[in-house]
Symmetry: C2
Subunit: 194 residues, 2 copies
């Protein structure tokens, strides 16, 4: 099987789609971000990569807090809008009719309509070139009551979006369950390898 070389390209498939929130000059603003990932478990931390000139970048550096809000597929239009338009120009909260609330931190704005909200305090900030990488400690997590099944968050009720990089640039839903993790691999175990 041959390979085609694509140079130095950020080809990760898929990435999540989140709305990163920050108060900018005291007012809530949100931007769509695909370059987001969990980076630590004890304590729980998440990173978001944001270009230096972004309005949200200004807000995060003002407060050293931010939020990660996971939109459901029903919010795809508002989510995409928050990736196209700058908060310099419009009040995205008003256009998107987001209901904003605050949790444990008093300056990390959260979107009620998003099924998952994470409040984050900046622990590290790396200037990597085009982007700043903000590493945030997750101070509190909020999940919509309607997204639980048997006492646990249910991804089929959360209905998150994935983002696909490349010329097609799509938002995709989750598909079928392929396998149970930390389970199907045991079929390959030979003898007492664990």
């Amino acid at each position: 099987m041959g390979k085609v070389l694509m140079g130095s390209s950020p080809l990760l498939y898929p990435t999540p789609t989140v709305l990163v929130g920050a108060n900018v000059d005291g007012k809530p603003n949100f931007m769509a971000v695909a370059w987001c990932g969990i980076v630590n478990s004890e304590p729980a931390m998440i990173s978001v990569a944001i270009q230096h000139h972004r309005y949200t970048h200004k807000g995060i550096t003002q407060n050293l807090t931010f939020s990660v809000n996971i939109p459901s597929i029903e919010m795809v239009k508002e989510t995409d809008y928050c990736g196209i338009i700058s908060g310099h120009k419009v009040d995205k909260v008003e256009v998107c009719q987001f209901k904003v609330f605050y949790g444990k931190l008093d300056n990390a704005p959260l979107i009620e309509q998003c099924p998952v909200n994470l409040e984050c305090k900046v622990m590290q900030m790396l200037n990597l070139g085009s982007h700043s990488l903000f590493v945030g400690r997750i101070e509190e997590s909020h999940i919509s009551e309607s997204c639980f099944t048997d006492g646990n968050p249910d991804v089929d009720k959360i209905k998150p979006l994935t983002f696909i990089v490349g010329p097609s640039r799509q938002y995709r839903a989750l598909g079928e369950v392929v396998a149970k993790a930390f389970s199907i691999g045991k079929e390959l175990e030979v003898g007492d390898n664990r």
Copy 2:
């Protein structure tokens, strides 16, 4: 709509599923990682979060290189195996029958069967608590010839896995296209906001 507080939890939905490769004491080893994300575009960089005691962690710190290999859904059993078993105990390359090759870097092992391979050079390493966050510059990207359509990588041929956190711990396929990105949001634009 009420919210349930879940404390400090790493609740990002979904995350990608990749096989991170490193040579450990000169031999290729791979582990399954969901905590991986793009962190910069110019130059292209990716991060992987790995617990300090992991065998792969040892290899990355030995060479200051690593690879990110994206398995397709057909490789779910081998992928999960690489998340269950430590390279301390078994030769995962042999058990999984991975065909290993090297690219631009001579010590970041790549898996031929994976449709996407990224060769990375460590630029930053953060000790965040339970995990080290390795930030790697993507030196070269390899895509299987069979995964192109009209000259571009096609995610429907790559068929990546997502990982869903929580008690259900699932690998999921990608689902339907919900919308075109940087496009559907324009329907919300009012006047000359761009």
